[in-house]
């Protein structure tokens, strides 16, 4: 049984409410941080923990905090990114819905470390019932002296407000989120200046994901060094994985990052295998933006080693032969799934979510969707596959924010690994409307690379 740091109390009856949460040891990290540590010592502890941002990019959290500018007399803000919208990802929702006090506790400690007296939780608008849960937890924390003026007599003041979005994936990108928080369209900003220098209302701002901020609690409780001992290499601590698609037990799992992908998919502790005895075809291991991998490359790296559920191992082989940990949105496809169709739904998603600011993304995502729709419906040409490749190459790296890359990568990976399936659609325009291509060779052993 893997060690749980975030979800260990998730099944305690009444943990949603303050009394039970506190009885179970909640808010101890606030006492420890505010009473016995300076803000810089808290940041130091987070650095020691090796915690990496859990929203998708995996940037070291302590390092991000240390970049925060602290000019005299200018307020600073912490903003919690709860705009979880990456297809396949629903872990932050789980944390906020079932352990709201864990997030509030993490926010108080983090706000103290950063000197944020007013902290915001930017939550996607569709999670419309969750602000009530969070606001209840915030009110309870305040009534018990963990928020408000002069917290625990330390002179530190802090308020937390929930700010709802209104349906825009792009607002999960931190500068778009800040624009949205200012009451504007979610158009990402050109960096630099970085939010750490000029964020919301031109004030120094740190934006962190929900899970990242919740992880601050166990880091404070067990210490950064202890936290860093869990996991392997630069993948320290535990990670929430939201598993979905063709598996027996979809849901949110907390893993330490030493287990293998195979164990995660097939063991009863996690996904419980694939329903109806079907075989594994492919998987998108870290949210829709990361490269899809065929079964053979998913379970083993190109070197023939077992692939593990962590940052390094999932990206082993780079984009040609690997993928990414991303947000932990783990999407499993069985042998009956059509890669062209799946890629089309993702292309449509990115076309819908492009903010329209940069031409390559605004125009390119629309073209990719149209071409994919043609191929999927038996109206494609062989040259369309090369055209798709060409378009995604021209989007990647040519936009202000990473949405362009996120739209390009899934298409590149689908063509890279499943080109024969695209070609089959073109060559069999009638048949592709009535049946799927199937498993083909994707589950066969890897060819051994020779020099």
């Amino acid at each position: 049984m893997a060690r749980k740091l975030l979800l260990d109390k998730a099944n305690v009856p009444g943990i949603l409410g303050y009394e039970v949460y506190r009885r179970e040891g909640g808010y101890a990290s606030v006492e420890k941080a505010l009473k016995t540590m300076t803000p810089d010592q808290v940041t130091e502890e987070v650095k020691k923990s090796g915690l990496r941002g859990r929203g998708g990019a995996g940037f070291p959290t302590g390092l991000k905090w240390s970049f925060l500018a602290k000019p005299e007399g200018v307020p600073r803000h912490l903003v919690c990114n709860a705009d979880e919208s990456e297809p396949g990802t629903f872990k932050d929702r789980y944390l906020m819905e079932f352990l709201p006090h864990l997030l509030v506790e993490g926010l108080i400690v983090s706000s103290y470390a950063l000197g944020s007296k007013v902290t915001y939780i930017y939550i996607r608008g569709e999670y419309a019932w969750i602000p009530d849960i969070l606001e209840t937890a915030i009110a309870e924390a305040k009534a018990n002296g963990w928020l408000g003026k002069n917290i625990l007599g330390t002179g530190f003041d802090c308020e937390i407000y929930v700010h709802t979005g209104a349906g825009a994936y792009i607002c999960g990108e931190e500068t778009a989120l800040l624009e949205s928080l200012e009451g504007k369209r979610g158009n990402p900003r050109i960096k630099p200046p970085f939010p750490a220098v000029k964020g919301v209302w031109d004030r120094p701002t740190v934006v962190n994901n929900v899970e990242t901020l919740a992880a601050i609690v166990p880091i404070m409780n067990i210490g950064g060094e202890e936290y860093a001992k869990i996991g392997v290499g630069k993948s320290t601590g535990t990670k929430l994985i939201s598993a979905c698609g063709n598996i027996n037990k979809p849901g949110v799992y907390e893993i330490d990052m030493t287990i293998s992908v195979e164990e995660f998919i097939y063991s009863d502790e996690y996904c419980g295998g694939i329903p109806n005895g079907k075989r594994l075809k492919a998987c998108i291991p870290g949210g829709s933006s990361v490269p899809i991998l065929p079964a053979n490359l998913l379970l083993k790296t190109v070197k023939g080693e077992k692939r593990l559920m962590n940052y390094e191992s999932l990206s082993d082989g780079g984009f040609p032969k690997g993928s990414m940990m991303g947000s932990g949105g783990f999407i499993v496809l069985d042998e009956d799934q059509c890669v062209v169709r799946n890629t089309l739904t993702l292309a449509r998603f990115y076309r819908h979510e492009s903010c329209g600011q940069c031409s390559p993304c605004r125009e390119g995502t629309g073209w990719m969707e149209k071409i994919l729709r043609n191929i999927e419906t038996g109206k494609g040409k062989k040259s369309d596959i090369d055209l798709l490749w060409d378009i995604q190459r021209k989007i990647e790296g040519n936009t202000i924010c990473p949405l362009g890359d996120a739209a390009a990568w899934p298409i590149a990976a689908a063509i890279r690994h499943f080109r024969d399936e695209f070609e089959w659609h073109v060559e069999n325009p009638q048949e592709c409307l009535v049946r799927n291509y199937g498993l083909a060779h994707y589950a066969d052993p890897l060819e051994v690379a020779t020099a």
């Binding site: 979880e84 629903f90 419309a128 700010h163 709802t164 009451g183 369209r185 939201s242 698609g245 998603f349």
Partner: protein, 172 residues
């Protein structure tokens, strides 16, 4: 009923809520309250945002109307046209597709005899398809008002429609 122009004016209670929203942001940054206030307005004034409603929000927040239009047209949750009393927003992105959302969408179309983006003649139901709502593990799913309805099956859709009809009949 659908197209009736509703004079946009919040109750005292809602105005206090608007003030409370504004107080969450620094002095002079009341523009930040646009999205929360637009949500409030959409809920209050018939489930959509008319130009009149948006102008009213602009007045409340001391903004130019264009600043409100810009925001209202950007975010997918704001309806710029009248919608039915119950809006079925069915997710159709990858993970939901893998779990059969297309069948659910077809079933709702047949059952209500409307297409995507259309409203039933009685003004009760609108069908919308939306992109990922963050319920991938509980697919297929839809949003109905404030809440998610998950693990959808044709039977479940039937009972949701029945539930809406009954609520509408009792609250009329």
């Amino acid at each position: 009923m659908l197209n009736k122009t509703i004079m946009a004016k919040f109750s005292e209670e809602k105005l206090r809520k608007v003030d409370e929203f504004i107080s969450r942001y620094p002095e002079g940054k009341q523009k930040s309250a646009i999205i929360p206030v637009l949500h409030l307005a959409q809920d209050e004034f018939g489930g959509w945002l008319s130009a009149e409603t948006m102008d009213y929000v602009a007045t409340l927040l001391k903004l130019e109307p264009i600043e409100v239009y810009e925001v209202a047209t950007f975010y997918s949750m704001f309806n710029l046209k009248p919608v039915g009393r119950y809006v079925f927003e069915v997710c159709q992105t990858g993970p939901c597709m893998v779990r059969g959302c297309d069948d659910i969408i077809d079933y709702i179309k047949k059952k209500l005899n409307i297409g995507v983006g259309e409203t039933t003649p009685d003004g009760l139901f609108t069908l919308k398809t939306v992109e990922c709502l963050g319920a991938c593990g509980y697919a297929p799913m839809m949003q109905l008002g404030k809440y998610f309805r998950e693990h959808l099956t044709p039977e479940k859709v039937d009972s949701i429609i029945e539930e809406c009809r009954q609520t509408a009949a009792t609250n009329n």
